[in-house]
Each structure stands twice: as C-alpha cells, then as structure tokens.
Symmetry: C3
Subunit: 394 residues, 3 copies
C-alpha cells in the first residue's frame, strides 16, 4: 500500500471523494423526502429569491430637501385689512425641510419692558403677601415685583408689557386663505453604495410641466407642487381645525427602488400623515393637533425698544425622506444558496429519522446505512469483516 | 443484537457517524472537482472575507453638525457703500447643518400696507373688468381691489407697497466678495453599535492648527476650514453664475471606518457636489443653479409698520454626514463560513453529475456509489446480498 | 438492469438517497466529535438565536421632533432690569430638533454704517501705510479705508459702527436663570418595514401627567419635560461654565424595540452627552464647550438704518433620534439554521481529520470509510471487487 506522504498531492488532485449512498426504494419514505426537499426548494426559490429578493443587497440614501411656498394671505381684523406674503407667514424663510406655515395668530403690539399686572386666573392674589418679590411662576410672564394690583387682583410683574392674553384663539382662523397656498418641493437622493443620484424632478418633469401641474395622487403623482389644503386633507385632518390651533404634518417622500431595472423607474412616492399622534387615541388626527410658538419683531420707537409679539398657530410640515434601493449582489445570492443547501441537509436528516426509527423494516435500513467498527460479533456486514481481515493481513 | 433503547445514550456519546465515501481515482473528474472546490474556496476567502469583509458587521452613525461662517462682504450700489457681516448674510444665524450664504439680492425698501398697481406683465388690464375685486392671482403680490390703474395699465392690489420688482437680477452679483468667506465645520459622529464617538477635529487637528489651516484636497484634507470659493469650484460650479442666481451645494462628510484598526484611522473625508440636478441635463451644474427666498425686516416709522423686503439669492449649503463603520463580528463570520460549506456541497453535486451521467464508466461509478435496497435481482452488490441474508436470519 | 431514462421520474419520486455511514465505536473520537457538535449547536441556539436574536430582521425609523422651551429669564445690567421670554432667548423660535438657548450675550446697540477705528490688538497701526485701503483682514470687522486713527492707533474701517468689542465675556453669565427653563419634547417615530408608529407620549403619558411631571432618570424616565439644568448636569457639564461660553449637548432619544412583544413595550430612552468633544482630551466636557453666534435686530431711527448686534453664547441642543426595531422574520431564521447546518459539516470534517490522521488505527478506519476505484490491487474491499466483475459481465 502506498505511503500517504509521497504522493499526497497527486492523490489530492487526481482523486475525489463522493459519499456512498443507499438508494432506498421505498415509496412512502421516498415521497415524504422528495416533498420535504421540494418544499425547501420552493421556499428558497419562491420566497427568498422571488418574494424577498434575497439576491439583492440594499442601501439607504443621503438626501437633501428644499421647499418653497407660494401664495398670498388676507386678513381683515376689525376693519384693518392686511396682506400676508411668503416673507410674513413662513418660518424659517430659507426653505428648510421642516418649516411652519402660519394659519392663525394672537398679536400683542407695542410691548415695552416694564411693570404690569399678570393675567387674571393663575396669578390671582388678595394681598402683596401672595406675590413674592423677585420670584417666578412657571406659567408667569415675568418676575414678580411683590405687589398685588388692586384693580385686577393679580400679581404685578416685570415683563414685556402689556402681557400677552392668549385665552381666546381667533375662530375661525384668521388665515383660512392658507388653504390655497402651494408648496414646491425639490429633493435629491444619493445611494452611495450604488453611486446613484436621483432628483424628484425625474425624467419628464421639466420646468414647463412644473409651471402648470398640481399634485394629485391619481392624475399627477410626480408633480412636486402641492396645495396646502390637499396636504391637510390627505393626512386626514380637517383644515379649519388644524388651521385654528395648528398641527404637524409629515410629508414622506418614499424612494423604494429596484436598481436592477433602469434607473428611470426609480421614482418618488409622496405620503402624508399627521405627526405626534397619541397611540391611545382612537382619532389619531385629533390627537396630534395643536402646534404654536411665539415670535417677536423688535423695533425702536421714541428711543424705546419695543416689540410686536406673535403667538403663531400654524401647520408645521416635516418633509421626511425614506429610501431603500436594492440591487443584485453576488454575496447575498450565494449566502442564500449556501444556507439553502444547508436546509436541504435538514430535510435529509428528517427523512433518515423516518427511515431509521419509524419504518417497520428500520433494522434492515439501519444495516444498509451503517457499518459498525468495534467488534466482529456486532458487525452485521461481511464487507467489514473482509476489511478487518485485510487490515490484519498487514 | 442490543436493543436501541437501553444504551442509546452511551451509544450517542461513544460512537459517531462519518459518511462512507468512494475515492474516485479519475484524473478528469478529480481535477474538475478540485478546481470547482478551489473556486468556491477562493470565492469565500478572497471575495467574501477579504474583499467584502464578510467577517464584519456594520453600523451607521448618529451625527451632529455645527457650522460657522467668517468674512466680511462689501457692496457699492449707486454710491452708497455698505458692509455685510455674518449677522447680515447667513440664514439662519445659529450655525445649522443647512444654511444659506447670501451672494446677491433685490432689495425693496420702505414697503407699507396699501393699494398700489401690480407690475406690468402678467397683470396687465385694459379695464376694471379685468381685475376681479377680492380675488388673487397665483403670481400676484396681493388681493385685487377691482381697479385697473390707467398709468401702468395693471390691476391695483392691496399689498405691501410698492410691490417688489424682481425682473432684473443684479449682474455681476452684488456680493462677489463672498468668494473669500470661510466656513468652519464641527461634526461629531457616534456609532451606537460599537460605542465609538469621533469628531472631525481628529488627533492632530488642534486649535493651533485650525487657526492657520485652509482645506485643500491634497495638502490639508483634514482641515475643517473651507473657502467658499473653493467649495463652489470643487462642486463643479462657476462662482459668478451661482453667486448671481443662487444654488445648492452638498458637503458630504464621509466617515467610512474599519474599526478593527485603531480608531485613530477613522477619519472624515469631505466631498462636494451640486444638489437638485436634473438627471436629464447634460450639464448637471447648470441644471441645479437657481436658489432664492424672500426675507423681510420689519420696523416702525412714524407709527406705521413698514418692512424692507429682501429677495435673497444665495448659496445654500447642506452638510450631509454619511457614515459606515465595520468591525469584526462572530455572527457574520460564521454565517459566511456556514453558507460557504453549503456551497461546497453544491460543488460535490456538480462533480457527481459529471461522474454519474457524463463519464463512459458511469455505470461502474454508479454501482460504487449507490447500494439498492429493493430486490435481489436489481442488486448489483454482493454486500447488499449478504446484508439481506443477515437480516433474513432474524 | 433498467435503463435510466424510462422511469427516471418514478425512480426520482419513489426512491431517495441517504448517505452510508461508518458508525465509529471509539470513545475518544466519539466524545471529541459530540462535544464539537454540541458546541456548534450551543453556539447556534444560544448565541445566534437567543443572544443576537438571529431570527429577527431589523429596521430603523423615520422620525420627527418638536421642541418647546418654557421659562422666563431676568438680567440686571448696570441697573437696567430686563426680562427674557421664549421669543427672546430661543433660536430659531419655531421648535426645531436643533436649537439654541441663549445663556449669555455681548450686546452692541445702535450700530450704524460708517467709518470707525478697529479694535486695538490685531489691527494696530503706526501709519496709514499699515492700513491698505479697500482691503479686508480675516479677523477684521470691515473694509479698511486706508487711514490710521491716531487716537486708537488702529486702522479705520467702513463697518457697522461702533464695532463690537467681544474681548470680555460677561462672568457670571447674564442669564444664569436659564437653569430653570424647561424643555418639552414631542417625538414620533415610524418603522416603515414593520408599519409601526410610536410617539414619545406613550401609553400613560397623558396631558394630565405632563402638566405635573419632570424628567428624572429613576423616578420618571418617560416624562418628556426636562429642566435645562438637569440636561446640562446629566451630560457632564458644569452649568456656569457652559452658560458663560456656550456649548453643544446632544439629547439622544433611543428607540430600541423588540416588536415580537406587545408594541406597548416599545418605549423611548433619553441619553445626554456633550457634542464635538476632542477625542484626545481627557476631560471631554471641557473640550466641547464654546458655542456662540451673532444675531442682529435691525430698525430705523431718524430715517437711518441701525441694528442691535447680539453675540449670543448659548446651549445648543441637538435632539437626535436613534432607533432600532427587531421582529421575527422567516428569512434570517432559516438563513441562520442553514448556515448552522453548514458549520455542523465543519465539525464532522474536524472529527474525520482526527479519525484518519491522528488515531493509531487510522489505516483501519480509512479502509472502512473509503472505497477505492482504480485497480484491483489497491482495492482492500471485496465488495469493490465483486462490483468490478459485475460490471465487466456487461
């Protein structure tokens, strides 16, 4: 017998092992086993590859958003007419992906720094003892001077005077005309892994088209111009409600792309939903209304600094980009195949269990499948015997 | 023969199965098979492990960016000289990751609320009938009063008067000096999965270095101070063009880190490119120019609220952090190995096909590999016979 | 012998192969092999499935954040008392996820456009020659007129005059009262893959609770209202230090959810840490302090445009949402199983190496395991012989 060392290499290259197998001609076991194997095959091909696209790797995008509002608002408060243009009702002005459109406001003009009584309600007092000088109240507008004003029966504070009274929110909202404002969105996404860059101004969405179109889920789902009223409706709000007390709306730009097809088919989808909803609430829309912030315009008058305080109720719009691109990749493909083969192994194991422990002829099959090595007596197999002798010959 | 039940456990622990194999001494099949196996091996080691680093798990970062502009601009419009400092030309002022640097503007001073004629052009009229009172035009500046002004032949509107005339964009841009502004970026990233936090002020980038350095792709790629002119150039724009009509530029901070090495090697890379490009356009840079927004400064004069309206053309800079950290992880490693072994199985299957269906001696090999169990006649194999008899002995 | 072609299909369905195996009754090898296999099993079940939850797929969220500050500040600079409310000290006002709370400031009132001397220090001059007309200095406030002012011995510049002198930062900070401001955070996250939306106002956090609660890591970890002083403390800063020179703090909202449990258990966790730290620094907190920006309020006085320049030192707060949801998924489960089976194969290979190359009786085992096909002489196995003859009979 040749030594293993000398021609191990030639052996290695010119011979190969293939497992010896028992070909069990048994209908029951055969069918069972084939079905299991077919099941595994169906799973791997049907589910992993076709349904879950297991042959692709995926990537999310880095993105950038620019927004621009258009439209003019009109208010008529106690006879004084006023026009609101973009510079007046959008915060911040420079077109971020998150901004607020003012739809209602409480204005407090000509505030000066000074001493004045607090609002009735939370800050009532009967005597100066109730207004500790130099201290603050969490809901107060300023620092208490320690005096209790007789006329109003409230503590006097050092604050921007007169203090804002925001108990009554204008109803109907002052800027219902906001419903007709339009929003233009520019969005570009880059999938670094696949080195693909896309803009929401996809093929065919040229300046000429943009100048005329208005977004509509059915008719023009790629038009990047939206009517504020539509956005509110599509996110399930009632415009008058949200315009009065404010609210937050998310515009989700969904880039789900299969880059195995032409990149032209990688197009955005726009979804709209209310934000900050309370999961408890039945009526999600109701839950998430209510958005406001305070904003001051400062000016000098008669050498005195003054300010106009605006409590702004508005629609806060967050433009959220959500992206997932998939493309064929050899790694996940072979990983899926490889692990699939592994699962095939499981199938065989199951069949063997049936074969060796459940069938009546299991003893017979066991003898076919296994060869024992320890002692002659336990060895059911002439071949093993012959081997033994053959070995002992050495 | 012992019963399986009694000493199943001792059996389980003291014996183990290893498949019986046919050692095919056949040069062709041997070589074919070895090459396939080597191919698989090469793929697993070379591609999965070395090239794709399949032994690592990956994570993206949560990040935070702070930006600060420096520099002074100078304009001389019809003799009146003016200086623009950071507080004047950056929107918003507080150093966000997305901000605008004003490079050109159309200023409309002393606007008051009132009635005045629209601009000639879109709003021409021949009689009051052309100007429906109380209605708005999408491109209009206010609410039409219903009058057609004879002198200008345009509709009269209630608006901020005089209305802005933005037909002529100043050329050359008023703030060409913006080219020399500098931008300082502070960026910190945290990879939660690996609990690693990095700042773009990496080792060696101390205050002393920062006070002197200026970013340069070759010489000082880690200096976090950028000249605006360089940024524009590196993103493929012509400064005068973009300064005139505005444009959007993305500064991508790329953190691609292999944390198996010392964290010191985890350094940022800065890339610059124009945003919102139209994929159709040949000239991407051209496509994505054009960025402006309106901004108003309010003030009181003679007890009348007035405002100065600025139509700002500027360079919008989005600082985008893109991150991918990789580190050794046992799971992907063993998954890769495991599925690799699976693919090995595929290799054997292929070889068997060759062996059993293509080779001339296939019948011979089939008999070597398979043992049939159903009937004596079909059994080519003495051993099976002996087994049969052995079984029948029972 | 039947032809393979005719009833290949019936063969395929009614028979199945199972590998023939040698049952090695050898305590050493047996134990070794079982231990390896048990190890693999333990790894797959214990590590992959239980510890790393390998049966789940994961997803990150798209999120939206709204913040609101409350509280009143008070300053007393050289006798003039002043109150600062939200509209005064928060930048920007509209409640973004990233904003600045002013804690200290240097105010320069009544700046007009004009010529005035630069600050002593960087811009000293002995004669006009030192001040090149029309040029700028990187650290200067404006454009040099070419004159050297005798009184101050500094260059004269065209700038907003008087130029800001920010050499002395007020200490103690003017708005120490900022410590008591409160921050309210509204955050909603959506995991698109699992179609789950959550808000940080989880079950039980109703308006009634919010009106009273204050965040505390132990007692009320779900209360979305934070005291600014606490935030600073929890992120490892000293309030007075950061209030004086400013600093940046990240509030990380961590959504790590196992959606195999009820979604009610998917709750946010709040973490606080300083940003922009220098990795070198021992004392990270020290390293990352220092944050300021300039901000101007414009107004007209006597028909002249003037402005009040504020150099704002403040606490910049970035609210960062970090999310990872996991849920059972069939794909990763079967992939893990499959590759696990693969690794099982590796175990067998290892055992075989022991069996065939290390054991004294290795020759014997080799003969048991392998069957040689090339020549009679090398064939240790009666069976092969019989096959040979059987084949030659054809």
């Amino acid at each position: 017998m040749k030594s293993q060392i000398t021609n191990a290499l030639s052996d290695f290259f010119f011979e190969y092992e293939t497992p010896r197998q028992v070909l069990v001609r048994n209908r029951r076991v055969g069918v069972v086993c084939r079905l299991i194997q077919l099941g595994v095959l169906a799973y791997i091909i049907g589910w992993v590859f076709i349904y879950e696209k297991g042959y692709q790797s995926s990537d999310t995008a880095v993105s950038s958003v620019f927004s621009k509002m258009k439209g003019v608002g009109y208010t008529n408060v106690t006879g004084t007419e006023r026009i609101w243009d973009v510079a007046d009702y959008v915060f911040p002005p420079q077109g971020d992906s998150s901004f607020v459109v003012m739809t209602n406001y409480i204005i407090t003009e000509g505030q000066k720094m000074g001493n004045c009584p607090e609002l009735p309600g939370k800050h009532n007092c009967s005597s100066d003892a109730d207004c500790e000088g130099g201290s603050f109240k969490r809901t107060g507008h300023g620092q208490m001077t320690g005096k209790c004003v007789n006329t109003t029966k409230t503590c006097e504070v050092l604050a921007w005077c007169p203090v804002e009274d925001d108990n009554n929110i204008p109803d109907p909202p002052l800027l219902m005309s906001a419903e007709n404002y339009t929003l233009f969105i520019k969005n570009s996404v880059t999938f670094p892994l696949f080195e693909v860059t896309r803009s929401n101004l996809v093929e065919g969405i040229d300046n000429n088209y943009i100048s005329k179109c208005l977004y509509d889920q059915e008719d023009s789902p790629l038009c990047p111009i939206f009517k504020l009223g539509d956005i509110v409706k599509m996110s399930g709000f009632n415009f008058e409600t949200i315009a009065k007390v404010g609210g937050a709306i998310g515009i989700v730009i969904d880039w789900t792309c299969n880059l195995d097809f032409n990149v032209k088919h990688c197009k955005p989808m726009y979804n709209f939903h209310g934000l900050y909803g309370n999961p408890d609430e039945k009526d999600k829309a109701r839950a998430s209304v209510g958005y406001n912030f305070r904003f001051a315009k400062h000016y000098m008058e008669d050498k005195v600094q003054q300010r106009t305080l605006l409590k702004v109720f508005g629609i806060r719009i967050d433009i959220i980009v959500q992206s997932l691109a998939r493309k064929f990749d050899i790694i996940p493909t072979l990983t899926a195949i490889g692990s699939g083969v592994g699962i095939f192994g499981v199938a065989t194991v199951v069949c063997d269990l049936v074969l060796l422990y459940l069938l009546p002829k299991r003893e017979f099959y066991k003898n076919m499948k296994f060869k024992y090595t320890d002692t002659q007596t336990q060895d059911p197999d002439s071949e093993a015997g012959s081997t033994e002798t053959e070995v002992s010959k050495k």
